[in-house]
Protein backbone atom coordinates (compact mmCIF):
# COMPACT_ATOMS: atom_id res chain seq x y z
CA UNK A 1 0.00 0.00 0.00
CA UNK A 2 1.42 3.31 -0.99
CA UNK A 3 0.99 5.87 1.78
CA UNK A 4 1.94 9.52 2.03
CA UNK A 5 4.63 8.54 4.50
CA UNK A 6 6.13 5.89 2.22
CA UNK A 7 6.03 8.19 -0.76
CA UNK A 8 7.86 10.98 1.02
CA UNK A 9 10.51 8.63 2.35
CA UNK A 10 10.74 7.00 -1.09
CA UNK A 11 11.43 10.33 -2.77
CA UNK A 12 13.94 11.26 -0.12
CA UNK A 13 15.88 8.04 -0.73
CA UNK A 14 15.58 8.42 -4.49
CA UNK A 15 16.92 11.98 -4.20
CA UNK A 16 20.03 10.70 -2.42
CA UNK A 17 20.62 7.91 -4.89
CA UNK A 18 20.43 10.36 -7.78
CA UNK A 19 22.75 12.74 -5.95
CA UNK A 20 25.32 9.99 -5.36
CA UNK A 21 25.12 8.63 -8.87
CA UNK A 22 24.66 11.81 -10.86
CA UNK A 23 28.02 11.59 -12.60
CA UNK A 24 27.63 7.87 -13.21
CA UNK A 25 24.24 8.38 -14.88
CA UNK A 26 25.68 11.11 -17.10
CA UNK A 27 28.59 8.85 -17.95
CA UNK A 28 26.23 6.07 -18.95
CA UNK A 29 24.46 8.60 -21.14
CA UNK A 30 27.68 9.59 -22.90
CA UNK A 31 28.51 6.69 -25.24
CA UNK A 32 24.88 6.15 -26.31
CA UNK A 33 23.27 9.51 -25.55
CA UNK A 34 24.19 13.09 -24.82
CA UNK A 35 25.70 12.81 -21.36
CA UNK A 36 23.08 14.68 -19.38
CA UNK A 37 20.88 12.08 -17.73
CA UNK A 38 22.46 12.54 -14.29
CA UNK A 39 22.11 16.30 -14.44
CA UNK A 40 18.57 16.03 -15.71
CA UNK A 41 17.48 13.71 -12.89
CA UNK A 42 19.30 15.77 -10.27
CA UNK A 43 17.56 18.94 -11.42
CA UNK A 44 14.27 17.08 -11.31
CA UNK A 45 14.80 15.68 -7.82
CA UNK A 46 15.84 19.10 -6.50
CA UNK A 47 12.51 20.28 -7.83
CA UNK A 48 10.66 17.37 -6.26
CA UNK A 49 12.32 17.98 -2.91
CA UNK A 50 11.49 21.68 -2.93
CA UNK A 51 7.97 21.04 -4.16
CA UNK A 52 7.22 18.48 -1.44
CA UNK A 53 8.71 20.69 1.27
CA UNK A 54 6.10 23.33 0.49
CA UNK A 55 3.12 21.00 0.91
CA UNK A 56 1.24 21.10 4.20
CA UNK A 57 -0.35 17.82 5.28
CA UNK A 58 -0.93 16.65 1.72
CA UNK A 59 -2.91 13.58 0.71
CA UNK A 60 -1.38 10.92 -1.51
CA UNK A 61 -2.86 12.27 -4.70
CA UNK A 62 -1.52 15.75 -4.01
CA UNK A 63 1.93 14.36 -3.31
CA UNK A 64 2.03 12.26 -6.46
CA UNK A 65 0.74 15.10 -8.59
CA UNK A 66 3.25 17.45 -7.04
CA UNK A 67 6.09 15.05 -7.85
CA UNK A 68 4.81 14.72 -11.41
CA UNK A 69 4.60 18.48 -11.94
CA UNK A 70 8.07 19.04 -10.53
CA UNK A 71 9.54 16.41 -12.81
CA UNK A 72 7.67 17.67 -15.85
CA UNK A 73 8.67 21.28 -15.29
CA UNK A 74 12.26 20.74 -14.16
CA UNK A 75 13.76 17.81 -16.03
CA UNK A 76 13.03 18.37 -19.68
CA UNK A 77 14.73 16.03 -22.12
CA UNK A 78 13.21 12.60 -22.67
CA UNK A 79 13.22 11.50 -19.06
CA UNK A 80 11.23 14.50 -17.79
CA UNK A 81 7.95 13.83 -19.58
CA UNK A 82 8.36 10.08 -19.00
CA UNK A 83 8.98 10.17 -15.26
CA UNK A 84 6.44 12.99 -15.02
CA UNK A 85 3.81 10.97 -16.83
CA UNK A 86 4.55 7.97 -14.60
CA UNK A 87 3.75 9.92 -11.44
CA UNK A 88 0.81 11.69 -13.05
CA UNK A 89 -0.72 8.33 -13.89
CA UNK A 90 -0.13 7.14 -10.31
CA UNK A 91 -1.84 10.29 -9.06
CA UNK A 92 -4.82 9.61 -11.29
CA UNK A 93 -5.03 5.98 -10.19
CA UNK A 94 -4.47 6.36 -6.44
CA UNK A 95 -8.05 7.38 -5.75
CA UNK A 96 -9.13 3.94 -6.89
CA UNK A 97 -6.35 1.83 -5.36
CA UNK A 98 -3.19 2.35 -3.35
CA UNK A 99 -1.80 -1.05 -4.26
CA UNK A 100 1.77 -0.42 -5.27
CA UNK A 101 1.75 -2.97 -8.06
CA UNK A 102 -1.40 -1.50 -9.56
CA UNK A 103 0.06 2.01 -9.40
CA UNK A 104 3.30 0.92 -11.07
CA UNK A 105 1.29 -0.74 -13.81
CA UNK A 106 -0.65 2.47 -14.38
CA UNK A 107 2.62 4.38 -14.53
CA UNK A 108 4.09 1.91 -16.99
CA UNK A 109 1.10 2.26 -19.28
CA UNK A 110 1.59 6.03 -19.20
CA UNK A 111 5.29 5.76 -20.03
CA UNK A 112 4.61 3.45 -22.93
CA UNK A 113 1.92 5.68 -24.29
CA UNK A 114 3.94 8.86 -23.92
CA UNK A 115 7.14 7.52 -25.44
CA UNK A 116 5.87 4.83 -27.76
CA UNK A 117 8.48 2.38 -26.52
CA UNK A 118 7.80 -1.23 -25.73
CA UNK A 119 9.73 -3.99 -23.98
CA UNK A 120 13.10 -4.68 -25.59
CA UNK A 121 13.59 -1.17 -27.01
CA UNK A 122 16.39 -0.52 -24.48
CA UNK A 123 14.65 2.15 -22.43
CA UNK A 124 13.42 2.64 -18.90
CA UNK A 125 10.43 0.51 -19.94
CA UNK A 126 12.72 -2.50 -19.64
CA UNK A 127 12.98 -1.89 -15.90
CA UNK A 128 9.45 -0.65 -15.26
CA UNK A 129 7.91 -3.59 -17.06
CA UNK A 130 9.55 -6.52 -15.16
CA UNK A 131 8.97 -4.65 -11.91
CA UNK A 132 5.31 -4.13 -12.80
CA UNK A 133 4.94 -7.79 -13.70
CA UNK A 134 6.57 -9.34 -10.65
CA UNK A 135 4.59 -10.39 -7.59
CA UNK A 136 7.30 -9.22 -5.27
CA UNK A 137 9.85 -6.56 -6.14
CA UNK A 138 13.34 -7.71 -5.19
CA UNK A 139 16.74 -6.26 -5.82
CA UNK A 140 17.43 -9.18 -8.11
CA UNK A 141 14.42 -8.40 -10.28
CA UNK A 142 15.64 -4.83 -10.55
CA UNK A 143 19.26 -5.73 -11.23
CA UNK A 144 18.40 -8.32 -13.83
CA UNK A 145 16.10 -5.86 -15.56
CA UNK A 146 18.82 -3.21 -15.67
CA UNK A 147 21.40 -5.72 -16.86
CA UNK A 148 19.09 -6.95 -19.59
CA UNK A 149 19.30 -3.58 -21.34
CA UNK A 150 23.00 -4.04 -21.98
CA UNK A 151 22.63 -6.45 -24.86
CA UNK A 152 19.61 -4.77 -26.38
CA UNK A 153 19.68 -2.76 -29.57
CA UNK A 154 18.10 0.62 -28.89
CA UNK A 155 14.99 1.45 -30.86
CA UNK A 156 13.79 4.52 -28.97
CA UNK A 157 15.50 7.60 -27.55
CA UNK A 158 18.86 9.03 -28.52
CA UNK A 159 20.61 5.67 -28.31
CA UNK A 160 18.56 4.44 -31.26
CA UNK A 161 20.61 6.69 -33.59
CA UNK A 162 23.51 4.33 -32.96
CA UNK A 163 21.83 1.22 -34.28
CA UNK A 164 24.05 -1.84 -33.66
CA UNK A 165 26.57 0.22 -31.72
CA UNK A 166 24.07 0.81 -28.93
CA UNK A 167 24.58 -2.84 -27.96
CA UNK A 168 26.94 -3.41 -25.03
CA UNK A 169 25.92 -0.38 -22.97
CA UNK A 170 23.43 -0.12 -20.12
CA UNK A 171 20.53 2.25 -20.74
CA UNK A 172 20.84 5.26 -18.40
CA UNK A 173 17.09 5.65 -17.94
CA UNK A 174 16.88 1.99 -17.00
CA UNK A 175 19.59 2.50 -14.38
CA UNK A 176 17.89 5.57 -12.88
CA UNK A 177 14.57 3.69 -12.84
CA UNK A 178 16.43 0.93 -11.01
CA UNK A 179 17.40 3.46 -8.34
CA UNK A 180 13.77 4.47 -8.05
CA UNK A 181 12.70 0.92 -7.29
CA UNK A 182 15.65 0.19 -5.01
CA UNK A 183 14.68 3.32 -3.08
CA UNK A 184 11.16 1.95 -2.83
CA UNK A 185 12.45 -1.43 -1.54
CA UNK A 186 14.62 0.27 1.04
CA UNK A 187 11.73 2.48 2.12
CA UNK A 188 9.45 -0.49 2.63
CA UNK A 189 12.18 -2.26 4.60
CA UNK A 190 12.85 0.75 6.80
CA UNK A 191 9.28 1.49 7.85
Amino acid sequence: MLTTEITQEWMDKFYHKIEENKDYLSELDTPIGDGDHGNNMMRGMEGVKQGLAKLQKPDLKTILKNIAMSLISKVGGASGPLYGTAFLEMAKKCGETQDINALINAALDGIKKRGGATEGDKTMVDVWSPVAQTNEITQKVIDDAIASTKDMLARKGRASYLGERSIGHLDPGAVSSGYLFTALLETEASL
Binding site: D36, N40, S73, A78, G115, Y161
Partner: protein, 334 residues
Protein backbone atom coordinates in the same frame (compact mmCIF):
# COMPACT_ATOMS: atom_id res chain seq x y z
CA UNK B 1 32.66 24.21 -10.08
CA UNK B 2 34.81 22.02 -12.31
CA UNK B 3 37.43 23.83 -14.33
CA UNK B 4 36.02 24.00 -17.79
CA UNK B 5 37.75 26.50 -20.04
CA UNK B 6 34.73 28.53 -20.84
CA UNK B 7 33.66 32.11 -20.32
CA UNK B 8 30.87 31.33 -17.89
CA UNK B 9 30.01 31.62 -14.23
CA UNK B 10 28.39 28.71 -12.37
CA UNK B 11 27.69 26.02 -14.99
CA UNK B 12 24.11 25.58 -13.80
CA UNK B 13 23.43 29.28 -14.46
CA UNK B 14 24.56 29.25 -18.07
CA UNK B 15 21.11 29.14 -19.61
CA UNK B 16 19.40 31.89 -17.58
CA UNK B 17 22.45 34.14 -17.88
CA UNK B 18 22.75 33.53 -21.59
CA UNK B 19 19.07 34.24 -22.17
CA UNK B 20 19.35 37.38 -20.09
CA UNK B 21 22.41 38.58 -22.02
CA UNK B 22 20.68 37.92 -25.31
CA UNK B 23 17.43 39.72 -24.58
CA UNK B 24 19.16 42.70 -23.04
CA UNK B 25 21.59 43.00 -25.94
CA UNK B 26 18.80 42.83 -28.51
CA UNK B 27 15.61 44.30 -27.01
CA UNK B 28 14.53 45.44 -30.45
CA UNK B 29 14.12 41.81 -31.54
CA UNK B 30 13.05 39.79 -28.56
CA UNK B 31 12.01 39.79 -24.95
CA UNK B 32 11.88 37.20 -22.26
CA UNK B 33 8.58 35.72 -21.17
CA UNK B 34 8.62 36.31 -17.39
CA UNK B 35 9.48 33.27 -15.22
CA UNK B 36 10.66 31.24 -18.23
CA UNK B 37 13.64 30.87 -20.53
CA UNK B 38 11.32 31.41 -23.46
CA UNK B 39 11.59 34.49 -25.66
CA UNK B 40 9.00 36.19 -27.79
CA UNK B 41 9.18 38.73 -30.59
CA UNK B 42 9.27 42.35 -29.40
CA UNK B 43 7.53 43.60 -32.50
CA UNK B 44 4.02 42.52 -31.46
CA UNK B 45 2.46 44.39 -34.35
CA UNK B 46 4.18 42.18 -36.89
CA UNK B 47 2.45 39.16 -35.32
CA UNK B 48 -1.09 40.50 -35.49
CA UNK B 49 -3.58 38.39 -37.39
CA UNK B 50 -0.96 35.79 -38.22
CA UNK B 51 -0.31 32.22 -37.22
CA UNK B 52 2.41 32.10 -34.58
CA UNK B 53 5.57 30.08 -35.19
CA UNK B 54 7.22 28.52 -32.13
CA UNK B 55 10.44 26.55 -32.05
CA UNK B 56 13.04 25.68 -29.48
CA UNK B 57 14.97 22.86 -27.97
CA UNK B 58 17.95 22.36 -25.76
CA UNK B 59 20.40 25.25 -25.47
CA UNK B 60 23.87 25.04 -26.99
CA UNK B 61 22.80 25.54 -30.59
CA UNK B 62 23.05 29.33 -30.63
CA UNK B 63 22.09 31.37 -32.60
CA UNK B 64 19.32 28.75 -32.81
CA UNK B 65 16.62 29.17 -31.93
CA UNK B 66 16.12 32.65 -30.45
CA UNK B 67 18.38 34.27 -33.06
CA UNK B 68 15.64 33.56 -35.58
CA UNK B 69 12.88 35.34 -33.70
CA UNK B 70 11.58 38.30 -35.64
CA UNK B 71 9.26 39.46 -38.38
CA UNK B 72 9.21 36.87 -41.16
CA UNK B 73 10.54 34.05 -39.03
CA UNK B 74 9.82 32.81 -35.48
CA UNK B 75 7.30 34.33 -33.07
CA UNK B 76 8.87 32.74 -30.03
CA UNK B 77 11.53 30.24 -29.05
CA UNK B 78 12.18 28.22 -25.94
CA UNK B 79 15.64 27.54 -24.54
CA UNK B 80 15.96 24.31 -22.57
CA UNK B 81 18.90 23.34 -20.43
CA UNK B 82 22.03 22.70 -22.47
CA UNK B 83 21.33 19.84 -24.90
CA UNK B 84 18.10 19.09 -23.03
CA UNK B 85 14.62 19.61 -24.36
CA UNK B 86 12.72 22.45 -22.68
CA UNK B 87 9.85 21.56 -20.40
CA UNK B 88 6.18 21.65 -21.46
CA UNK B 89 5.27 24.59 -19.22
CA UNK B 90 7.87 26.77 -20.94
CA UNK B 91 6.81 25.70 -24.41
CA UNK B 92 3.22 26.34 -23.40
CA UNK B 93 4.16 29.88 -22.32
CA UNK B 94 5.79 30.49 -25.72
CA UNK B 95 2.70 29.19 -27.48
CA UNK B 96 0.42 31.46 -25.45
CA UNK B 97 2.61 34.48 -26.15
CA UNK B 98 2.55 33.71 -29.88
CA UNK B 99 -1.11 32.98 -30.41
CA UNK B 100 -3.09 35.72 -32.12
CA UNK B 101 -6.25 33.68 -32.55
CA UNK B 102 -5.02 32.05 -35.75
CA UNK B 103 -3.30 29.15 -34.06
CA UNK B 104 0.34 28.30 -33.54
CA UNK B 105 2.65 26.16 -35.63
CA UNK B 106 5.41 24.25 -33.82
CA UNK B 107 8.75 23.39 -35.39
CA UNK B 108 10.13 20.43 -33.45
CA UNK B 109 13.40 18.60 -33.96
CA UNK B 110 13.04 14.86 -33.91
CA UNK B 111 14.36 13.85 -30.50
CA UNK B 112 12.36 11.80 -27.99
CA UNK B 113 12.61 14.63 -25.50
CA UNK B 114 11.57 17.44 -27.81
CA UNK B 115 8.73 15.45 -29.28
CA UNK B 116 7.32 14.48 -25.88
CA UNK B 117 7.70 17.89 -24.25
CA UNK B 118 6.22 19.75 -27.21
CA UNK B 119 3.44 17.19 -27.24
CA UNK B 120 2.58 17.84 -23.62
CA UNK B 121 2.66 21.58 -24.29
CA UNK B 122 0.34 21.10 -27.19
CA UNK B 123 -2.12 19.28 -24.92
CA UNK B 124 -1.97 22.20 -22.49
CA UNK B 125 -2.52 24.77 -25.24
CA UNK B 126 -5.41 22.87 -26.72
CA UNK B 127 -7.14 23.02 -23.35
CA UNK B 128 -7.04 26.81 -23.91
CA UNK B 129 -8.60 26.33 -27.35
CA UNK B 130 -5.40 27.33 -29.11
CA UNK B 131 -5.17 25.49 -32.41
CA UNK B 132 -1.83 23.74 -32.83
CA UNK B 133 -0.15 22.04 -35.76
CA UNK B 134 3.44 20.99 -35.96
CA UNK B 135 6.25 19.57 -38.03
CA UNK B 136 8.86 17.18 -36.70
CA UNK B 137 12.08 17.96 -38.55
CA UNK B 138 14.29 14.94 -39.27
CA UNK B 139 16.83 16.08 -41.82
CA UNK B 140 19.94 14.29 -40.51
CA UNK B 141 20.65 11.56 -43.03
CA UNK B 142 23.53 10.15 -40.98
CA UNK B 143 20.97 8.04 -39.18
CA UNK B 144 19.17 5.16 -40.80
CA UNK B 145 15.51 5.94 -41.08
CA UNK B 146 13.05 3.35 -39.86
CA UNK B 147 9.47 3.17 -38.75
CA UNK B 148 10.46 1.10 -35.73
CA UNK B 149 12.91 3.55 -34.22
CA UNK B 150 13.00 7.18 -33.26
CA UNK B 151 14.03 7.86 -36.86
CA UNK B 152 16.32 10.63 -37.97
CA UNK B 153 17.46 13.61 -35.93
CA UNK B 154 16.55 17.21 -36.61
CA UNK B 155 19.62 19.35 -37.26
CA UNK B 156 20.60 22.41 -39.33
CA UNK B 157 17.84 21.93 -41.89
CA UNK B 158 15.51 23.07 -39.11
CA UNK B 159 16.67 26.64 -39.72
CA UNK B 160 15.49 26.43 -43.33
CA UNK B 161 12.17 25.11 -42.05
CA UNK B 162 11.89 28.14 -39.73
CA UNK B 163 12.52 30.37 -42.72
CA UNK B 164 9.91 28.69 -44.89
CA UNK B 165 7.05 28.64 -42.42
CA UNK B 166 8.05 32.04 -41.03
CA UNK B 167 7.86 33.66 -44.45
CA UNK B 168 4.59 31.95 -45.30
CA UNK B 169 3.03 32.88 -41.94
CA UNK B 170 4.09 36.49 -42.40
CA UNK B 171 2.27 36.49 -45.72
CA UNK B 172 -0.88 35.25 -44.05
CA UNK B 173 -0.76 31.48 -44.54
CA UNK B 174 -3.26 29.54 -42.41
CA UNK B 175 -2.30 26.86 -39.93
CA UNK B 176 -3.33 24.15 -42.39
CA UNK B 177 -1.38 25.76 -45.20
CA UNK B 178 1.69 25.92 -43.00
CA UNK B 179 1.35 22.28 -42.12
CA UNK B 180 1.09 21.34 -45.78
CA UNK B 181 4.07 23.54 -46.69
CA UNK B 182 6.22 22.03 -43.96
CA UNK B 183 5.24 18.46 -44.77
CA UNK B 184 5.82 18.97 -48.48
CA UNK B 185 9.24 20.54 -48.02
CA UNK B 186 10.58 18.24 -45.31
CA UNK B 187 11.61 15.22 -47.40
CA UNK B 188 13.56 17.54 -49.70
CA UNK B 189 15.87 18.78 -46.95
CA UNK B 190 18.91 16.65 -46.09
CA UNK B 191 21.80 17.35 -43.76
CA UNK B 192 25.02 15.56 -42.91
CA UNK B 193 27.88 16.65 -40.67
CA UNK B 194 31.55 16.02 -39.98
CA UNK B 195 33.17 16.76 -36.60
CA UNK B 196 36.78 17.57 -35.73
CA UNK B 197 36.11 17.80 -32.00
CA UNK B 198 33.20 17.41 -29.62
CA UNK B 199 31.32 19.86 -27.43
CA UNK B 200 31.59 20.08 -23.67
CA UNK B 201 28.33 20.62 -21.80
CA UNK B 202 29.22 23.11 -19.04
CA UNK B 203 27.62 21.04 -16.28
CA UNK B 204 29.30 17.86 -17.51
CA UNK B 205 32.73 19.42 -17.81
CA UNK B 206 34.20 17.01 -20.32
CA UNK B 207 33.63 16.51 -24.04
CA UNK B 208 30.91 14.21 -25.35
CA UNK B 209 33.52 12.18 -27.23
CA UNK B 210 37.21 12.43 -27.85
CA UNK B 211 38.85 12.45 -31.25
CA UNK B 212 42.59 12.06 -31.65
CA UNK B 213 44.58 15.02 -32.95
CA UNK B 214 44.33 13.69 -36.48
CA UNK B 215 40.87 12.13 -36.37
CA UNK B 216 37.50 13.25 -37.65
CA UNK B 217 34.08 11.67 -37.44
CA UNK B 218 31.36 11.68 -40.06
CA UNK B 219 27.69 11.86 -39.21
CA UNK B 220 27.82 13.18 -35.65
CA UNK B 221 24.72 14.80 -34.24
CA UNK B 222 24.38 18.25 -32.74
CA UNK B 223 24.58 16.87 -29.19
CA UNK B 224 27.79 14.94 -29.76
CA UNK B 225 25.82 11.85 -30.69
CA UNK B 226 28.30 9.49 -32.35
CA UNK B 227 28.42 9.39 -36.14
CA UNK B 228 28.87 6.63 -38.66
CA UNK B 229 32.64 6.54 -39.26
CA UNK B 230 35.91 7.72 -37.79
CA UNK B 231 38.88 8.45 -39.99
CA UNK B 232 42.16 10.31 -40.21
CA UNK B 233 41.67 13.98 -41.07
CA UNK B 234 41.22 14.53 -44.81
CA UNK B 235 41.48 17.52 -47.10
CA UNK B 236 38.42 19.72 -47.41
CA UNK B 237 37.93 18.34 -50.93
CA UNK B 238 37.69 14.79 -49.61
CA UNK B 239 35.36 15.76 -46.76
CA UNK B 240 33.09 17.43 -49.27
CA UNK B 241 33.15 14.32 -51.50
CA UNK B 242 32.13 12.10 -48.60
CA UNK B 243 29.31 14.35 -47.41
CA UNK B 244 28.04 15.18 -50.87
CA UNK B 245 27.93 11.51 -51.83
CA UNK B 246 25.66 10.86 -48.83
CA UNK B 247 23.42 13.75 -49.81
CA UNK B 248 23.35 12.53 -53.39
CA UNK B 249 22.28 9.03 -52.30
CA UNK B 250 19.39 10.62 -50.48
CA UNK B 251 18.25 13.46 -52.74
CA UNK B 252 19.43 12.12 -56.12
CA UNK B 253 20.93 15.41 -57.20
CA UNK B 254 19.69 16.40 -60.63
CA UNK B 255 20.97 19.23 -62.87
CA UNK B 256 17.36 19.97 -63.82
CA UNK B 257 16.47 20.82 -60.21
CA UNK B 258 17.13 23.97 -58.21
CA UNK B 259 18.93 23.70 -54.88
CA UNK B 260 19.47 25.77 -51.77
CA UNK B 261 22.57 25.04 -49.72
CA UNK B 262 23.41 25.75 -46.10
CA UNK B 263 27.03 25.30 -44.99
CA UNK B 264 26.81 25.40 -41.22
CA UNK B 265 29.67 25.83 -38.76
CA UNK B 266 29.27 23.79 -35.59
CA UNK B 267 30.58 26.49 -33.24
CA UNK B 268 34.37 26.51 -33.14
CA UNK B 269 35.03 26.23 -36.85
CA UNK B 270 36.24 29.53 -38.29
CA UNK B 271 34.57 31.01 -41.34
CA UNK B 272 37.91 30.56 -43.10
CA UNK B 273 37.35 26.80 -43.11
CA UNK B 274 33.67 27.14 -43.94
CA UNK B 275 34.51 29.23 -47.01
CA UNK B 276 37.21 26.77 -48.16
CA UNK B 277 34.66 23.96 -47.70
CA UNK B 278 32.15 26.01 -49.74
CA UNK B 279 34.71 26.44 -52.49
CA UNK B 280 35.19 22.68 -52.76
CA UNK B 281 31.46 22.06 -52.47
CA UNK B 282 30.63 24.47 -55.29
CA UNK B 283 33.33 22.90 -57.45
CA UNK B 284 31.95 19.42 -56.90
CA UNK B 285 28.38 20.54 -57.45
CA UNK B 286 29.48 22.24 -60.63
CA UNK B 287 30.97 18.96 -61.79
CA UNK B 288 27.42 17.62 -61.43
CA UNK B 289 26.19 20.66 -63.40
CA UNK B 290 24.51 22.09 -60.34
CA UNK B 291 24.75 25.69 -59.25
CA UNK B 292 22.81 26.46 -56.06
CA UNK B 293 20.27 29.24 -56.44
CA UNK B 294 20.48 30.06 -52.75
CA UNK B 295 23.35 29.64 -50.34
CA UNK B 296 24.32 30.59 -46.83
CA UNK B 297 27.57 29.93 -44.97
CA UNK B 298 28.00 30.47 -41.24
CA UNK B 299 27.06 29.34 -37.76
CA UNK B 300 23.32 28.69 -37.67
CA UNK B 301 22.74 25.46 -35.74
CA UNK B 302 25.78 24.95 -33.57
CA UNK B 303 26.83 22.45 -30.97
CA UNK B 304 28.46 24.71 -28.36
CA UNK B 305 32.18 24.69 -29.23
CA UNK B 306 32.21 21.62 -31.41
CA UNK B 307 34.53 21.97 -34.42
CA UNK B 308 33.02 20.75 -37.64
CA UNK B 309 30.66 21.57 -40.46
CA UNK B 310 27.28 20.36 -41.55
CA UNK B 311 26.04 20.47 -45.09
CA UNK B 312 22.34 20.92 -45.81
CA UNK B 313 20.95 20.61 -49.30
CA UNK B 314 17.35 21.53 -50.03
CA UNK B 315 15.82 20.45 -53.32
CA UNK B 316 13.54 23.36 -54.26
CA UNK B 317 10.90 21.22 -55.92
CA UNK B 318 8.29 23.93 -55.45
CA UNK B 319 8.95 27.44 -56.84
CA UNK B 320 7.46 29.11 -53.78
CA UNK B 321 10.16 27.72 -51.52
CA UNK B 322 12.93 29.84 -53.02
CA UNK B 323 10.72 32.91 -52.57
CA UNK B 324 10.23 32.03 -48.92
CA UNK B 325 13.98 31.62 -48.45
CA UNK B 326 14.58 35.04 -49.99
CA UNK B 327 11.71 36.72 -48.16
CA UNK B 328 13.07 39.59 -46.01
CA UNK B 329 13.30 39.01 -42.26
CA UNK B 330 14.20 41.04 -39.21
CA UNK B 331 16.16 38.74 -36.95
CA UNK B 332 19.48 38.69 -35.16
CA UNK B 333 20.98 35.76 -36.96
CA UNK B 334 19.43 34.91 -40.34
Amino acid sequence: MKTVKKIINEPQNVVPEMVDGLVRAYPQYLKKIPETEAMVRSDKKSMEGKVGIVSGGGSGHEPSHAGFIGKGMLSAAVAGQVFTSPTPDQIYAAIKASDQGKGVFLVIKNYSGDVMNFDMAKDMAELDDIKIKSIIVNDDIAVEDSLYTQGRRGVAGTVLMHKLVGAAADQGASLDELEKLAKDALPHISTIAVALSAATVPEVGKPGFVLADDEIEYGVGIHSEPGYRREKIKTSKKLVSELLAKIDQELHLNPQHQYAVLVNGMGATPLMEQYVFSHDLLDQLEAKQIKPVFMKVGNYMTSIEMAGISLTVFDLADNKWLKYLNYPVETIAW
